[in-house]
Amino acid sequence: MKLYEYKAKELLKKHGIPVPDGFVVSSPDGVKQLPGPVMVKAQVLIGGRGKAGGIKPANTVEEARKAASAILGLNIRGYVTKQVLLERRLEVAKELYLGITIDRSRRGLLLMASASGGMDIESVPEDKILMLSMDPLIGYQGFVGRRVSGFLKLGKEQGAQVADIVKRLYALMISEDAELAEINPLVITKDGKVVAGDAKVTIDSDALFRHKEYEGLEEDLTPLEAKAKELDIAFVQLDGNIGVIANGAGLTMATLDSLNMFGGRAGVFLDLGGTDDPEKVKSAMLLMEEADPKVILLNIFGGITKCDTVAKGVLEAIEMRPTSAPIVARIKGVNEELGRDMLKEAGMIPASGLSEAAEKASKESLR
């Protein structure tokens, strides 16, 4: 779960990492007083706010209200701004980059640091970025901080501040169950302080059961996305016209690949995860009908459930919410023939293999 900048900075502050003084408002009237000259920053979960006009400076309450007023409601790459963060403006001497994320290859955490922080970090050459794989059995130790501040060629004072921030960012990762904690830029101010200019924190949604404090945190979701999330179904909007329901990320992607082979293009896909639970299949069918695709392709590889039971769920869904879209259905597993017959009888287009299903759905979609 991605956190808004202001929320991420609250977390940094909780862990003792310096952030600029500031506050968040959802209406210009919320601005009563400033901690000094500020930046007014759109709170959206997408990059490129600055270029989209989502960040403006202000020196007085009046200017700040004006800026807030301009930014609130702003649509930034599809995300509508509902809150702005007003934050004391930093006198920037230098911008660093500091981030910790999951290291898939080394199966631990990866610490990244660069003296070339800021918006262009992605194009900084590899040798200008320190990438330290952190051994989970060793965890954070003082030498990690020393290696970072040494790489950044910082003097004793800023070096110590940065090392301390690295230590605290690591503690944040672990204790908050974060999968990403990134400070970019990490600002060295003209008076020698090290302060988090911007922050991105993503909380591992699998760990939310032990972080009740994140319950009810607002997320930017369309109604269909929200419903899918509630059902623990992965929902992705694409630009084709075939609605795909499959179980398992790999199988879902393989289904898209197969459609592509036959000229079909997926418009939305629902991934049930590794399950073929008939109830979940039924929910997905209902959801899919709301998305109103031209063709529906159902590709379920059954593990332990019987195909006829799954087919029954599909039929119930259609009964509850009839659709005009042709449905190509392929259900693999126990009692396969029985399931296929049930679906065929109900007017669906049965298929026995993945290729066959993809070919039939593509053909229907191009009609």
């Binding site: 990059g47 980059y97 981030g99 910790i100 994320t101 999951i102 290291d103 898939r104 290859s105 199966r107 631990g108 955490l109 990866l110 990244m112 992605e122 590899e126 990438m131 051994d135 989970p136 059995l137 990762m173 672990i174 169950d177 999968e179 990403l180 990134e182 970019n184 991105k200 993503t202 591992d204 699998d206 760990a207 059961f209 032990r210 694409l238 499959a246 179980n247 398992g248 990320a249 790999g250 199988l251 992607m253 393989a254 898209l256 690949d257 459609l259 592509n260 082979m261 995860g273 590794g274 590889f301 593990g303 332990i304 693999k332 597993g333 126990v334 293999g353 993945l354 290729s355 993809a358």
Partner: protein, 285 residues
């Protein structure tokens, strides 16, 4: 010979009294696996499918000599369960449970690796060696004894491909579903190492997907160390790019992680890459 499972494998099912534990302990046994014990705290003395239930893994090991565990306990308790298995001296652990917090996985995977314990998962279907046994939830009926080793990051897609192989008369030596989580206890390289050594594995199928760089690393390993023919399929050639995770993802990936990058790397390592899953059997001929 098989990989990570053999005739000496004695399985303890952690979470045996739950729905999945009960169902799959029977399915494993029906596939020929020696399932010797189950563990559910507070249920010692009960039986599930005639399999004795113990309160702790230590008790199960002491009483039955279990050396392999299959973990079905809910995600919040998975770390505890895996650590319990590690502490009790279990040599092979298959963690089926999905939605395990990533920091929990990092911790127990590191401990397992430090002890030389083979841990597969979390969020994986497990492993199956036709004619020997299975540990996990792979559907029994798709398998056929043979000489192709299958390793896959995906669940149902593995079934799809194994099923296609079997339908074409191509059997499997061992199939290892390593799971799609970000921190897998066993990765492609770990399994490729074993397949390369395994005398009964003549060819290898590798099923990957977009994201991460595990397939690129597998390609490097194949180039350097694998002499057996390898066929691969990478799911997601036509998938949309996912939402990015801050700058960190881009810094790490540096252009890798896409289907193109993976396919290119594999082909450069001499691997035949299928366009769609159902092409795999043909490429194995």
């Amino acid at each position: 010979m098989t990989v990570m499972i053999d005739k000496k494998t004695k399985v303890v099912v952690q979470g045996i009294t739950g729905y999945q534990g009960t169902y799959h302990s029977k399915a494993m046994r029906d596939f020929g696996t020696n399932v010797v014990a189950g563990v559910t705290p507070g249920k010692a003395g009960e039986k599930v499918n005639d399999i004795p239930v113990f309160d702790t893994v230590a008790d199960a090991v002491a009483e039955t000599g279990a050396n392999t565990s299959c973990v079905f306990v809910p995600a919040p308790m998975t770390k505890d369960a895996v650590m319990e298995a590690l502490d009790a001296g279990i040599a092979t652990i298959v963690v089926v449970t999905e939605h395990v917090p990533v920091h929990d996985a990092i911790h127990f995977v590191a401990v397992a690796r430090s002890k030389g314990v083979a841990l597969v998962g979390p969020n994986c279907p497990g492993l199956a060696a036709p004619g020997v046994g299975k540990v996990g939830i792979l559907p029994s009926k798709i398998f056929m004894k043979g000489t192709v080793g299958v390793v896959s990051r995906s669940g149902t897609l593995t079934y799809e491909i194994v099923n296609a192989m079997t339908e074409h008369g191509i059997g499997q030596s061992t199939c290892v579903g390593i799971g799609g989580d970000r921190v897998p206890g066993t990765n492609f390289v770990d399994v490729l190492t074993r397949f390369q050594k395994d005398k009964d594995t003549k060819k290898i199928v590798l099923v990957g997907e977009i994201g991460g760089t595990a397939e690129e690393e597998a390609a490097e390993f194949v180039k350097a160390h694998v002499t057996k023919p390898v066929v691969a399929y990478i799911a997601g050639r036509t998938a949309p790019p996912g939402k990015r995770m801050g700058h960190a993802g881009a810094i790490i990936a540096r252009g890798r992680g896409t289907a193109e990058s993976k396919i290119k790397a594999l082909e450069a390592a001499g691997v035949k890459v299928a366009r769609i899953p159902t092409d795999v059997p043909e490429l194995l001929r």
